[in-house]
Structure formats: structure tokens, C-alpha cells
């Protein structure tokens, strides 16, 4: 039985599919891209720090042209200003602007570029964020504001674009995987007094655990799933 499960999860979920991985972190992008390639996808990695609609449209269109089209867009992006842990009252206005507003606009532009690619034939978008946004994190108010804004934007986009056959979902991952700069952040501890969480005994890694879920979300098997949030924390907070 276990062998059967392993066999199934190792199957190529994205054979012949074309994926664009747009991230603000080269390490994150490379890890997710390698996992999607393992599932048979042809993948191009691009920098998601879009400063304009035109830049996002052009970059995503170039990537799709190189791939011969696009079926899946994976997006994860936060400005560097959002990735520094510090109390809100010490945050300069310009850093708040960069973390909250520039971050959201870059996400918006990426979604709009994805819409231009996928609106005719349908496809999937997966936005990746820090799972701590579901419970909040001290010192990271701007990032958590951004991340929850992104997660909600995905829901609204799913409602608007479902008629085009577009599915949009959100995946939460460990903060240190989301951005190396967050490795030392003060993440809230689960109020669990039993065996130390996460329940699975480890934090899901990017190229296998996380990429497998994203591959499934991009596959036909997830054709009925949109607007949903998947928190891949290994069974830590067990939300939403």
C-alpha cells in the first residue's frame, strides 16, 4: 500500500505542461522549478519584482513564447523591505510603502500578466506565501499584511476568472523557505503541549513536498479546486 502511494505521488502530474515560476527569491524559484520539472513540466524561472504592468506583461509573455504557451504560473514575491523583522513603530514610511504597496502592486501585475496568458485556454495560478500569515507574526506586520492581501486577492481573482477556466489557489510555506532573510524571525509557537509540532516531524521541503502540491494544483486532478488555501507547515498550526 505504501509503495502504491509513493508510486502515485511520483507520477508526472504536469507532463507536456508549461510552467512559469515567478519569484523574488532565486533559491525559492529554483527549488520549485526543479520539483515541477520532476513532474514533467517545462519550466522557466523569472524575477517577479515587477515595477509596472507593462514589465509583468512583457516578461510573462516572453516566457510563454519561449515555452510555446503557458498552463501554470507560480508566483511568490515580497519586497526586501518586507523581509526584515522589526517592530512596526520603527518602520519608516518608505519601507512600509515598499513592503505593503509595492509588494501588492507587483503581485497584481503578475496576476494580470497571468490572466493575459491563460484567459483563452484556461490554466492555473498558484501564489506562494509565508504560512505564518494565517496566524500573524510579531516584527513582520508589513509582510503579514502583504501576504494576507495577496491571499485574498487570489480569492477575488478566482471568483472573477473562473469563467475563463482559470483556477487560482494559495500555498503557505515555512518562512525560512519563503525567504532566507526570515530564518531568524520570531515565528509564533503553536500552543500544542503534546509532542513538538509539526505533526509530521519536519517542515515540508520545497522541491518535493511543496512542489508536489503545486504540481497537483496545476494538474487536471485539481480541476475543481480554486480560491483555496493550502497551508504546508507539516501539521503545525493546522489552519485554515
Amino acid at each position: 500500500m505504501v509503495d502504491s502511494v509513493v508510486q502515485k505521488t511520483s507520477a508526472a502530474l504536469l507532463a507536456c505542461q508549461r510552467a512559469i515560476v515567478a519569484t523574488g527569491s532565486a533559491a525559492l524559484g529554483a527549488a520549485l522549478a526543479s520539483g515541477l520539472r520532476r513532474h514533467g513540466a517545462r519550466v522557466i524561472e523569472i524575477d517577479a519584482a515587477f515595477d509596472s504592468r507593462a514589465a509583468a506583461d512583457a516578461t510573462l509573455a516572453d516566457a510563454a513564447r519561449e515555452l510555446g504557451g503557458a498552463d501554470l504560473v507560480v508566483h511568490a514575491c515580497a519586497e526586501p523591505a518586507a523581509l526584515i523583522s522589526r517592530p512596526l513603530h520603527t518602520l519608516a514610511v518608505e519601507d512600509w510603502n515598499a513592503a505593503a504597496h509595492r509588494g501588492m502592486l507587483a503581485s497584481l501585475y503578475c496576476l494580470q500578466g497571468a490572466h493575459a496568458l491563460l484567459r483563452d485556454a484556461g490554466g492555473a495560478v498558484v501564489t506562494v506565501g509565508p504560512s505564518a500569515s494565517l496566524v500573524g507574526a510579531p516584527g513582520l506586520v508589513a509582510l503579514m499584511t502583504l501576504a494576507e492581501g495577496q491571499r485574498t486577492l487570489i480569492k477575488s481573482a478566482a471568483r472573477q476568472w473562473g469563467r475563463h477556466g482559470m483556477r487560482l489557489n494559495w500555498v503557505g510555506i515555512a518562512g525560512r523557505h519563503y525567504a532566507p532573510a526570515l530564518a531568524q524571525a520570531a515565528w509564533p509557537q503553536t500552543p500544542e503541549l503534546g509532542p513538538p509540532p509539526p505533526a509530521l516531524g519536519r517542515v515540508p521541503d520545497l522541491p518535493t513536498d511543496v512542489a508536489d502540491v503545486i504540481a497537483w494544483l496545476g494538474s487536471d486532478g485539481a480541476r475543481g479546486v480554486t480560491g483555496a488555501s493550502f497551508n504546508l507547515d507539516g501539521g503545525d498550526w493546522m489552519v485554515p
Binding site: L88, H89, L91, Q112, G136, V141, T145, G149, T152, S156
Partner: protein
């Protein structure tokens, strides 16, 4: 008789405390300001147009409440600082901030996500998100000094389930959730609670819309388990009073739907 009893009960809850309510010139903000004043708080009624704040002030004065009106655009940090300074100058303390301001009519206009521009985003976000940021930074020293500070953000169920009609507004309200949960963890050591309320209330724009679309009104009202939309002062305002009172002093980091049972997915 019952209203006298209610007024007396309310007046004991926040007696002597000082509150700022943003966006209090109409609708839910006005109802919150009225309820806080009825509960004994001194209230700074703030908004972008002083004339509407003055109207709220008159309603509070009619009930014997204590309030001042201040013209404040929460997207302007200097204006927020001046408002806090004015409150401290007048009453010597600040215990409660209710960040209710949003970009008025912009938040209720349908828009296709693929057509949103930076200007569309900024028009709403500079009020909602920057309002949170500016009010929090300006108020922190005084909320710490209070010993029982309260910071409340007015969210929306749209921030929970998304909204095809208005993706900007729903994203902003979703972001409020991350803001509140994180700031609650950050400010807990100061004895300050940080919460959000997601209200459903009949406001003037909603009444105008429903007057033109009675079938939509009937359909919408039928969704409420309690069979009606909330009333800004008595339903939403009193929930804010409760959150600000000592009775709810151990509640923080929460997003509380005050919506007649409409949204039960939390």
C-alpha cells in the same frame, strides 16, 4: 425605560476613557463614535470633511456625550499626528483607536481585476492600509501609557472570502487581518489589545442602493440568520464598546464578524 437602563449600563463601561474614531462622519464610523460616547468615553470624531464630523458631534451632544470633531485624512501622517496631539492636549490621554476610515464610494464600485491600475489601488490603499500604519505608529506611546489600550480595525467579510465585485477592497480587508494578528502579537506585552471587527450594517449608501434594487435587498437580507442587517450604532457600535471594555480585555488578535450570523466559516 429600557433605553434608560441601556444608557446607564453603557455609561459605566468606558467612563473616562478617550477614543479616536476615524471615518466617523457617516455610517458605521458615526455609529461607533455614538456608541463609545454613550458608554462614557470622550470621543474624537475624525474624518476628511469636518462638516460631516460636526454632524456626528451634534448627535453625540444630543445624548449628552463628550466629543470633539477633527478634520483628518488618515493617509496623511502629519494630519494623524496632529489629531493625536489635539486629543492629548484636550483630554490628556488616549486609550482607544478605532481605524474605520476607507476610501468612501471607491470601495463599492465593481472593477475587473485585470483593469486595476496603480491609481485605483492607491486611492483605496492609502486610506485603509496607510491609515492603519499611521494611526498605529502615532498612537502607540499613548496606548502603552493607558495600560489598557485598544486598537480596533474595521475589516470586512470580503477580506475573508474575497469578492468578485471589488478585489481591491477585499484584498485590503484581507491584509487588515494579517496586520491585526501580527500587531496583536507585537503589542501584547504593552497590555494593548488589537482586534478587527467585520461588520454587516445598513449604511446610507447601502440604503440608497437597496432603494433602487428592492429585489436585491430582499435576496440579501434573506441571507442573514438574524433576518436583518445590522444598525451602525446599536449593533456594530456596541460590539466595539464591548471590545474596548474591561470585559473583553483578554481578547486580542481576533477578527470578529458582527454580522447577524452571515459569515460562519471561521
Amino acid at each position: 425605560m429600557s433605553s434608560t437602563i441601556e444608557t446607564l449600563a453603557e455609561s459605566r463601561l468606558l467612563s473616562g476613557r478617550v477614543a479616536i474614531v476615524t471615518g466617523a462622519g457617516a455610517g458605521i464610523g458615526r455609529g461607533i463614535a455614538q456608541a463609545l460616547a454613550a458608554a462614557g468615553a470622550h470621543v474624537a470624531v475624525t474624518g476628511r470633511r469636518l462638516s460631516t464630523c460636526d454632524a456626528t458631534l451634534s448627535l453625540i451632544a444630543d445624548e449628552g456625550g463628550s466629543a470633539i470633531a477633527l478634520e483628518v485624512d488618515v493617509s496623511d501622517r502629519a494630519a494623524v499626528d496632529r489629531a493625536v496631539d489635539a486629543v492629548i492636549s484636550r483630554w490628556g490621554r488616549l486609550d482607544i483607536v478605532v481605524q474605520n476610515a476607507n476610501a468612501g464610494g471607491d470601495s463599492s464600485h465593481p472593477i475587473a481585476l485585470e483593469e486595476i491600475t496603480e491609481a485605483d489601488w492607491s486611492r483605496q490603499a492609502r486610506v485603509a492600509w496607510d491609515g492603519n500604519f499611521h494611526c498605529a505608529q502615532a498612537a502607540l506611546p499613548h496606548l502603552k501609557a493607558s495600560g489598557r489600550g485598544r486598537f480596533i480595525v474595521l475589516g470586512s467579510a470580503f477580506g475573508l472570502h474575497g469578492a468578485a465585485m471589488n478585489p481591491i477592497y477585499s484584498a485590503l480587508k484581507g491584509g487588515d487581518r494579517g496586520f491585526v494578528k501580527s500587531l496583536a502579537r507585537e503589542w501584547g506585552s504593552h497590555g494593548i489589545t488589537v482586534n478587527a471587527i467585520e461588520p454587516a450594517a445598513m449604511t446610507e449608501p447601502a440604503e440608497a442602493f437597496f432603494a433602487q434594487n428592492p429585489a436585491v435587498r430582499d435576496m440579501f437580507i434573506s441571507m442573514f440568520p438574524l433576518g436583518r442587517m445590522g444598525e451602525p450604532r446599536n449593533d456594530i457600535g456596541r460590539a466595539v464598546v464591548a471590545l474596548c471594555s474591561d470585559m473583553m480585555g483578554y481578547v486580542s488578535g481576533q477578527n470578529l464578524p458582527v454580522d447577524g450570523g452571515l459569515y460562519t466559516a471561521l
